[in-house]
Amino acid sequence: MGMTRSEHILARASGKARVAPGDMVVGKADVIMGNDITTSLTVRILDANGITQFADPDKVFIVMSHFVPAKDIASAAMAKTCRDFARKYGIKHYFEAGQGGIEHALLPDEGYVVPGDLVLGADSHSCTYGGVNTFATGIGSTDLAAAWTTGELWLRVPETIKIVFNGVPKNPWVSGKDVVLFLISQLGDDGALYQAQEFHGEGTQHLSVEGRLTIANMAIEGGAKNSIFPCDDKTLAYEAGRAKRDVQGVEADADANYVAVHEFDISNLEPQVAFPHLPSNCKPVGQAMQEKVSIDQVFIGSCTNAKLEDLRIAAKILDGHQLAKWTRGVVIPASHNIYMQALDEGLISIFAKAGFAVAEGTCGPCLGGYMGVIGEGERMLSTSNRNFKGRTGDVRGETYLASPAVAAASAITGFITDPNEVAPSGSAAALTQFTE
């Protein structure tokens, strides 16, 4: 019996010829990452246990992203805990707000995670890196302390679900976000619990790497342990000029074993909108529009959908338009480099002229941090990943999840809107995430 992509990486990382679902392995990680929130707790755990030696300090990544630049005195103290730790141990891969960004945009975009890696991240969206053919999974702060100390961590080899996307979406505004919202609506919020998702098919082949990263990002919203895309021509082209280490892509064997196979024809997929309070609560945008849902704030940001392609798509729709009178807008490019590229391309100017407040490199209101927390009874349309009750602010507020295209179109009208209503489909031709 052959192995899946995930099994290949876990076998290599644990020094075994082969592994099978259910095996407990101790995997040696290539990148071990924490953010400001999880790292501050890890530092407390390390101090309490008197640990001052780390297996490989160059594999330690600390990316400040959630409550930075500090939103209040308590977060300043939390950030300082991380900063003091990084200085004390001379951590090379320490990223401050204004230089780094959100970890899940930063690490693939700047080539710190590369195909074939085992990546452990103390943030649940660490599964994002599977978009570039890594085995990447979320861990907690004690796990992070353990992995920094020993360089490795116990992992149960997950069963793999094979997901095949047949066809290529005809609607030019359909992106990776719409595909993943649709997938979660089909398989459920815990449909992949403890399992790996492995993506195949024509739809997968034609999807850009940034679109794949968005799908992998939300694997956790389906309960998955990890999610993994192929290492194909698109991946190699993406890695050229980015990868900071050798690319060692993996592919599943022809006789690999899958616990389930799901095939979806996505050629007629419409943009999707997840209604409160679960990502699985999806409707096609045409149906959502009929409900005339007014939007108080549009947020284009987060590790899910604030990469360069996302910003280009949103800016294309917003160019020359204004936010609707009673709709506010916040744009937060996901990393400093993405912010600078968006500046160079004139995208920031389009957002600013449309009336958006523009910041950079923080998770912001996605998790109710700051820069656009919502109030009682308010509705936010967000390009982020979770619409749980109370997550983005007041527990009586509502969050709707959608793509940057739907967010931009809705910002113009003030209601949930199909991008095709405000932007003729021809104008999207150069921007779709599905290409040859």
């Binding site: 929130i37 309490a48 907690g140 004690t142 353990a146 149960r156 009750k389 109370g390």
Partner: protein, 167 residues
């Protein structure tokens, strides 16, 4: 005077980490600071009534969402001694085991418990008794690797033991 019997807080499915401990308190990492806000967006009666020894019971996908270890820390610091659920989100499961908060996957027990039921627990043996219904449930034993973490009193203790043994 007899001690009150440990009681059950019974919730539904998808009790996510934003409900267990909202992100707005994640700049804190002392257990007692976190405990002051545990479950506040889900159940306003939790904090005023929870006592040491009580148990949280949830349905499927308990602890979904964020990787924040603050969530099981908050439950433990508020007095909760175990969580029983039909299934757990995997990062929550790891975090709870790693900090020494027992988590038991027991769908039959979940179906039997109602909010406010009294409970008796034998964590070591994995035995749960609903003292209202009189029904007893036996959890499937953990794999050896997880038992090692539990017996050591958490993952960091196990690592220190292993390092001392290897030194």
């Amino acid at each position: 005077m007899a001690q009150p019997q440990p009681k059950v807080y019974r919730y539904g499915r998808d009790v996510n980490t934003d409900l267990i401990l909202p992100a707005r308190y994640m700049m804190f990492n002392e257990p007692e600071d976190l405990a002051k806000h545990c479950m506040e967006d889900l159940d306003g009666d939790f904090l005023p009534t929870v006592r040491y020894g009580d148990v949280v019971v949830g349905e499927e996908n308990f602890g979904s969402g964020s990787s924040r270890e603050h969530a099981p820390m908050a439950l433990k610091a508020s007095g909760i001694v175990a969580v029983i659920a039909s299934s757990f989100a995997r990062i929550f499961f790891r975090n709870a085991i790693n900090i020494g908060l027992p988590v038991l996957e027991l769908p039959e027990a979940v179906a039997d418990f109602r909010h406010g039921d009294t409970i008796s627990l034998d964590i070591e043996q994995g035995i749960v008794k609903n003292t209202r219904s009189g029904n007893t449930f036996q959890a499937t034993p953990y794999p050896q690797e997880i038992m090692d973490i539990i017996r050591a009193g958490g993952l960091m203790n196990l690592i220190k033991q292993q390092q001392a043994a290897g030194a």
